[in-house]
């Protein structure tokens, strides 16, 4: 359903993504892990052309875009096939929670306004925020804002939801409520690609884990393979370090 072929991205002299290829099937939950600054977020942003890849092709559902001959029309149809959850939420500041969710239904999918708002209300309910419909982003907590962000992504009818470190900007107390919503989506077999540092989440829900380092995909496998039995030394080192960090933070929370 999603096919990425030979995707590369350079910022000037700096090559951030090097010849990335992978596939995602419908209903799969793919988690991308790796050290900071290895191009995970850039990869995700290339998938819906928030960044323009230097070369390679991205195919999602019925839309295919090759960087060598990308037209605006292709890019726009590619973007309709996916939606994005941002690290810093990026909710529309001038719209309340309900309007944020309804925006794509009205503007992109041309639903009548009343129907769109009702539809949006159902989606808000799914993320547990039915009672916050008329609140503006500035009136919501970080966790609530991110749940609205997820609701907005759910509303935009894409085949796949791309999550760019959805919990990284959150206070620890709000991480769980966002993860709960994501796990529920996973249970419903919503196709997702998630860039995250939440290893526990990856272990629990990922059908496939991609380990990236230095702009390359080092290793791909099931969560079990990557976390319990990694092939590459780089993966081993990263997974061991992550496990140790998790343990330390567990210890400190016990104190």
């Amino acid at each position: 359903m999603i096919t990425v072929q030979n995707l590369s991205k350079s910022f000037g002299q700096n090559q951030v993504l090097k010849d990335i290829s992978f596939e995602v099937n419908a209903g799969e939950i793919v988690v991308i892990i790796g050290p900071s600054g290895t191009g995970k977020s850039t990869l995700l942003r290339c998938l819906n052309y928030l960044e323009t890849p230097t070369s390679g092709s991205v195919e999602i559902g019925t839309a295919k875009v090759d960087a060598a001959c990308a037209t605006n029309k292709q890019i726009s149809s590619l973007r309709k096939q996916s939606s994005f959850v941002f690290q810093n939420y990026s909710l529309f500041a001038n719209k309340n929670a309900l309007q944020n969710v309804a925006e794509s239904l009205i503007t992109v999918w041309k639903e009548p306004k009343k129907a769109a708002l009702e539809h949006a209300q159902t989606i808000l309910k799914q993320v547990g925020l039915a009672d916050k419909a008329d609140q503006y982003p500035s009136q919501l907590s970080g966790g609530q804002q991110q749940r609205v962000g997820i609701a907005r992504a759910m509303a935009s009818k894409g085949e796949v939801i791309l999550f760019d470190e959805p919990t990284s900007a959150l206070d620890p107390e709000w991480v769980e409520e966002v993860l709960v919503v994501m796990k529920e989506l996973a249970r419903q077999k919503q196709t997702m690609i998630v860039v995250t540092h939440e290893m526990q989440f990856a272990k629990e829900v990922a059908d496939k884990v991609i380990f990236m380092e230095g702009g390359h995909i080092v290793e791909t496998g099931t969560a079990k393979q990557i976390f319990d039995n990694p092939e590459h030394n780089r993966t081993k080192a990263f997974v061991a370090r992550a496990a140790k960090n998790a343990l330390t933070s567990f210890d400190s929370s016990m104190l």
Binding site: N48, Y49, L50, S76, R79, K80, S82, S83, F84, F86, N88, S90, L91, F92, A93, N94, K95, N96, E103, S104, T107, V108, Y136, P137, S138, R152, A153, A155, S156, G158
Partner: protein, 223 residues
């Protein structure tokens, strides 16, 4: 030659002048209306860097900010009709409104552009990510937020425009300044006449400054 200020004359002159305030305000309101539309178009063209049009917009802004309003009004009303006969029938009021619109659009475009650039770029990314076009994102998400940022400076331009309508008397528009000029010429009470007109402009500006404060307070509460 009078030696002391003729207050009586001023008091009697004020209601006569006020009859012409309508023309002044009409010019300012129409001028601001067209300037605002043009300014938004220019600002969006500049922000999107629309090929070719973008350079034209830059040239337009440079010219209308780089030359005096009075010169622009003279060019438009006394100069251009020689070359464009269609403009020959244009009345002075229309010429003044067009001149004011073009002049202030150039300034307002820059302040709207600045406000647009001040909106976090993640807002546009969010628009694109849910399948909106850049133009949809601009008009539904970015401009509404930018308008809040730009409102104080746009209202300043409106107040400035009210005062600038006084230049229209040089084209022969019968507005408040023209009337004051005529009264002064017939009574020889120059100081009183121009003081009276100054007081009226001042009162109008104070009134709109009040409104500006109310609008700004409202806007800050919105979200």
């Amino acid at each position: 030659m009078q030696t002391s200020l003729d207050v009586q004359y001023i008091v009697e002159l004020l209601p006569i002048l006020l009859k012409y305030l309508g023309v002044t305000m009409e010019m300012a309101l129409w001028g601001f209306f067209f300037a605002l539309i043009l300014a938004v178009v220019l600002a969006v063209i500049k922000v999107f860097k629309v090929p070719l049009v973008h350079q034209a917009a830059g040239l337009f802004i440079s010219f209308f900010r780089g030359t005096p309003l009075l010169v622009q009004l003279f060019l438009l009303y006394y100069g251009l009709p020689h070359y464009i006969p269609a403009l020959a029938g244009m009345d002075a009021f229309t010429a003044a409104v067009i001149g004011l619109s073009l002049h202030f659009a150039a300034y307002m475009a820059e302040s709207i552009r600045g406000a647009i650039l001040g909106i976090d770029k993640s807002q546009m990314e969010a628009c694109l990510s849910i399948g909106m076009t850049r133009l949809q994102g601009m008009f539904r998400i970015i401009l509404p937020q930018a308008s809040r940022v730009a409102t104080p400076s746009l209202m300043n331009y409106f107040i400035d425009m009210i005062k600038s309508t006084s230049l229209a008397f040089t084209l022969g528009v019968a507005e408040i300044m023209a009337k004051a000029q005529m009264e002064a010429a017939s009574s020889f009470k120059f100081f009183e006449s121009f003081l009276a007109v100054a007081l009226i402009y001042w009162a109008v500006v104070v009134f709109f400054t009040r409104i500006q404060h109310i609008v700004e307070t409202r806007l800050n509460k919105a979200y």
